[in-house]
């Protein structure tokens, strides 16, 4: 019996494959901002395991880690690098303070960029991030 699936676009399959081979933390979202994959290195920073499934919507993951800007203000999804990559179709970089699922505060740098298969067709976005040395 065949599995019935809604196929991911090849660009997203390649992005996941690329991310899975990197030692740098990577976070992959679809065009709605739903996180559909993060790699083992990201698991270590976020203190959360990736589980196969329908994914976590932006409204959930964007608050789960309480991302704060340098003034200590909560950054809404739309102003996070991934939100900007999706909504504005451009790359963005920010330094953020987050709280991992283990309750530990971490300072991270995040760079996100949109994934276009064709001009005008944004399939999702990829964020790479890393712990900054001044982390608590």
């Amino acid at each position: 019996m065949a599995e019935q699936v809604e196929q991911r676009h090849l660009v997203l399959i390649l992005a996941r494959s690329f991310a899975s081979r990197l030692a740098t933390p990577v976070w992959l979202v679809d065009a709605e901002g739903t996180v559909i994959y993060f790699n083992e290195a990201a698991e270590a920073v976020l203190a959360r395991r990736f589980i196969e499934g329908p994914g976590m919507p932006a409204s959930e993951w964007s608050t789960m880690f309480t991302p704060l800007d340098e003034r200590g203000n909560l950054v809404p999804y739309e102003r996070l690098p991934l939100g900007i990559a999706i909504s504005e179709g451009r790359a963005d970089h920010q330094d953020l303070d987050i709280k991992g699922a283990d309750g530990v505060d971490r300072r991270i740098g995040v760079t996100a960029f949109p994934l276009f298969a064709h001009p005008g067709e944004c399939l999702g976005a990829l964020a790479i991030f890393w712990e900054r040395p001044e982390s608590a």
Partner: protein, 281 residues
């Protein structure tokens, strides 16, 4: 739906005594739909004998579905006799590119100095279409295409006729490069959605597992991958395709035995594409 193989060799035509049983022509498959519409899948050197056959009762319209523009998939176009007939309407579908139209990219090959005539000079009426992610109709069939894992812009096709028969064509496909075919959910495997539950899957099977280890990233699959992909997608029949030009008929038969060893199904569900093979669904 009637499916006939006119060329199943990969990379370069390989005529000779060692390839007589399965043939040496490069990729070309003819599909005749319920309403008698005629589709061609790729235009490798197998398009030359197919063109001769079609001239006996030339249809007014032919649809050519190109998976990609590597030479072994387009080199037969100039020798495809119907394009030299002014009465024919040839619709060419192929992967979209952000930098040049399908017409322009084919013309790179189909023009001097690589070919004596410009594509724009052929007598047939040619219409070029991007094969997009949205399904479209050709005759009695619905056609879907998706980008698949191979070097450069490459698509696979799923053709569903009005009686529900499904043919999936995934030549030049290396899904294992990005995904573990045995553990990852199907949504993360290249070509999975196109192939799921197809009656007939024509799939790349160029290498033995030992050969594949030396050719990772070349864009092709091994017997191990073809078997795993067929099993996961639950297809009715697998047609092993894109034979390596260095493989003799005997070598291909050993590869089929290897696939059957891995994909434990009735032998008639696993075929080696051979010139002249005709399948009905």
């Amino acid at each position: 739906m009637r499916i006939r193989i006119w060329g199943s060799r990969g990379s370069i035509a390989s005529p000779g005594l060692d390839t007589v049983r399965y043939g040496g022509n490069t990729s070309c498959v003819e599909v005749c739909l319920l309403d008698n519409s005629r589709l061609l899948l790729d235009a490798g050197t197998g398009a030359r004998p197919l063109g001769i056959e079609l001239m006996r009762d030339l249809p007014a319209r032919i649809d050519l579905l190109l998976t990609h523009l590597h030479v072994d998939h387009v080199e037969g176009l100039g020798a495809f006799e119907p394009i030299w007939s002014p009465g024919i309407e040839l619709h060419v579908w192929g992967p979209p590119s952000p930098v040049a139209s399908l017409n322009e990219r084919i013309a790179t090959y189909f023009s001097p100095p690589l070919f004596p005539v410009h594509l724009s000079e052929v007598p047939a009426s040619t219409v070029f279409h991007d094969a997009t992610d949205r399904p479209w109709s050709i005759g009695s069939a619905t056609v879907c295409s998706e980008p698949i894992m191979h070097q450069g812009q490459t698509v696979g096709y799923r053709i569903e006729d009005s009686d529900g028969a499904v043919l999936t064509y995934l030549t030049d496909h290396e899904p294992a490069l990005a995904s573990d075919l045995t553990t990852l959910p199907g949504e993360w495997i290249s070509g999975f959605g196109l192939a799921a539950g197809a009656d007939v899957l024509i799939h790349d099977c160029q290498y033995t597992p030992e050969e594949y280890r030396e050719r990772v990233g070349f864009g092709h699959s091994s017997t191990e991958h073809a078997a795993a992909f067929a099993e996961r997608t639950g297809v009715g029949r697998l047609v092993m395709f894109h034979h390596d030009p260095l493989h003799t008929d005997d070598a291909l038969e050993a590869m089929r035995a290897d696939v059957l060893e891995r994909w434990k199904v009735e032998p008639e569900r696993c075929l080696l594409a051979a010139e002249g093979t005709e399948l009905h669904t």
